[in-house]
Amino acid sequence: MSTPAQEFLRNAATKSADLVHRRTIRTGIDHYEAAVGRSGARFHDWEAARQRLHEIKWEAVNHLDRYLLEFETRIRERGGHVYWAETAEDARRYVTDLAARNNVRTVVKSKSMVTEEIDLTHTLEEQGVTVFETDLGEMIVQLRKEPPYHLMTPAMHLTRAEIADLFREKLGGVESDDPQHLVAVARRALRRAFFSAEMGISGANFLVAESGLMALTTNEGNGRLGSSLPRIHVAVAGIEKVIPRMEDLAVIWPTIARSAVGQPIACYNTLIGGPRGPNETDGPEEFHVVLLDNGRSELLADPEQREVLHCIRCGACLNVCPVFRNIGGHSYGTVYGGPIGSVLMPHLGGLNKFQHLSFASSLCGACTDACPVKINLHHHLLQNRRNAVRSADRPASERLAFKLWRWTMMGSQRFAFVGSVARMLLRAAYGWGLARTPLDPMRPWTKVHGAPEIPAKSFRALWKEQHGAS
């Protein structure tokens, strides 16, 4: 069996050579960037909004103990249940037990990355529950039996025609690939699911401590429907989702909408905080919140990377990432892809298993500039690399190479000597016509590049000739 690193290398190589894929993603991201530009113009001061968001999340993450307990108390006061899950296994067991106790046969799920993280859907399906993804993008990838391609736009990699074909095969009643028509087809199928489901499952975009309300943002209204029609509602949320105050949402909502999809504000922003009250006409009879740790406490204990918990999963870092644009979301082989995934996965899934992702970056920093909560993503990639060299498996040849490198760089004469020998050998090899052959000493480079011209003399030699020894 191949390791995740080998698999990544293989998938990334295949995908980056796929020109059709490259074009599809480029088209999608061009639309995204145009929309972000338009919605950005509505901000009086975008940088100030980012700074504010950073401060809100900093306050929350650095006082998680207080805000989480406050949130829990408010929920319990309204008759809701709160379960603290230390591991993915704990969270899965709580939800599946709940489903079994209540004879749940059908679940409607709104889009949630954390339920992907704990692989909840498959566990429910194994015990005979039918799970409907109700976000259009999630529904599409579920029908294709694929994981989501992107945190925010799960079906970004598919064209309208591909989706029409898929619906034709799985749902029927498809007359054209007009987006409105396709949405109508999906809606017809989903309405039946909404009315038959006994349980709704969602994530939570934010947990407001002050009021004990969870904020759910969607563009399709599926979160609102899924959390009010079924008899039982379960929200699964990472512990980092808590924010202190209601007023924080005033800056958070427009900011996340801009970063995620380039909207002024998302179409549906819902606040729910418990089961249906005595005088209320809708809402679930039972309301559960599962607070998931799953490695987050360890990240919290690391002051250097604690701010990674600020992430609001908007996906902006993926959209701007030139690596993501070329290898696509599935190549990562992880729940969270793109720059934030590369930073986060070593913490959630183990450094040794996921260290390769931190090396698969040109460190261009576009992600850091795009991040609405100002996570210094590309610097965290550097720290992950350092941690990997410290405590994970790296090739012995690489370790030796950097020892030799250091020796060379610790003296200018050594450096000049090693450099001129290397240049002489390269010039000789290229003189014999070995450039771009398997015998090319620069082979990994010249496999994908034209051979460089190697100068006869170094700068220091030429400088000395012109200026004399100094």
Binding site: L363, R394, M409, G419, V448, H449, P452
Partner: protein, 265 residues
């Protein structure tokens, strides 16, 4: 002058051209010969332990120089010293010296505009040129207009913008050798955008980006060539109709023979 290790070995003309421009506008320049490498290759690969001694050595060598400023023809290597030495040299007795050094080191275009305050260095380069925003210069040093401002003042130069000029070219140091396929895909995208811009040349502040882009362009047998900003600014008089020297002014420099344009036909 801080001449990065790979410029010393692979693009010597970039260093010489930078010296020529600095001298032309009235500075005297010095090359501390003891310098080797700032430590970035090891640092970026996670080998902070290995990078530390060469970095300390760098701080000692340049700290001892009485120059008014240290100028470097690479935004990336400038960033290493200015931004990342803070992280790398944490706890080192040289932390203070490194901070002093960080305030004295400048990328070449940054130095010309912000320190020397010269936008017109008297260069002429009658070609259509697109500027590639090298990542470290753009996002760490926040240099966006500086190189363009210099290019706008070059006689005969037609500055064009390529689409997605801020998107990374895919070099990324050891990234290019660890993940050649991804790096090449990014390079191809960049090359295609350069071609679409109608430019004859792609220029930038970073010789490493240009080496990568040049390699990809060569493979595509593209008509677009690469040239470092310093080599454009070093040009004073290109005879009408003459073509600049080799296919790429970066890889085989004009400076060894004199001004760009006196070389090969």
């Amino acid at each position: 002058m801080f001449i990065p290790c790979f410029v010393d070995q692979l693009n010597p003309e970039v260093g010489l051209d930078m010296a020529r421009v600095l001298q032309r506008i009235g500075y005297s320049v010095d090359f501390p010969e003891a310098q080797t490498c700032c430590g970035q290759p090891a640092f970026n690969s996670g080998y902070w332990q290995e990078a530390r001694r060469p970095a300390e050595r760098f701080v000692e060598i340049f700290g001892a120089s009485d120059a008014d400023a240290i100028v470097c023809p690479s935004g990336s290597c400038t960033t290493m010293v200015r931004t990342f030495y803070r992280d790398l040299l944490q706890g080192s007795p040289l932390t203070g010296d490194a901070a002093t050094l960080a305030a004295r080191i400048f990328e070449f275009s940054e130095f010309l505009l912000k320190v020397a305050q010269v936008a017109d260095v008297g260069a002429s380069f009658p070609h259509r040129v697109a500027y590639h925003d090298a990542c470290h210069a753009l996002r760490e040093l926040r240099l966006k207009q500086e190189p363009r401002e210099l290019l706008r003042h070059v006689r005969g130069l037609d500055l064009v913008e390529m689409p997605y000029c801020e998107e990374c070219c895919g070099f990324g140091g050891t990234f290019a050798t660890k993940f050649p396929m991804i790096s090449a895909a990014m390079g191809e995208t960049k090359a295609a955008h350069a071609e679409a811009s109608g430019a004859d040349y792609v220029t930038s502040t970073d010789p490493s980006c240009l080496m990568h882009i040049d390699g990809v362009l060569r493979l595509r047998k593209s008509r677009v060539r690469t040239v470092h900003l310093a080599s454009i600014l070093a040009q004073t008089a290109v005879p009408a109709g003459a073509q600049p020297s080799s296919r790429t002014a970066v890889a085989r420099g004009p400076s060894q023979e004199g001004a760009l344009g006196k070389g090969t036909p």
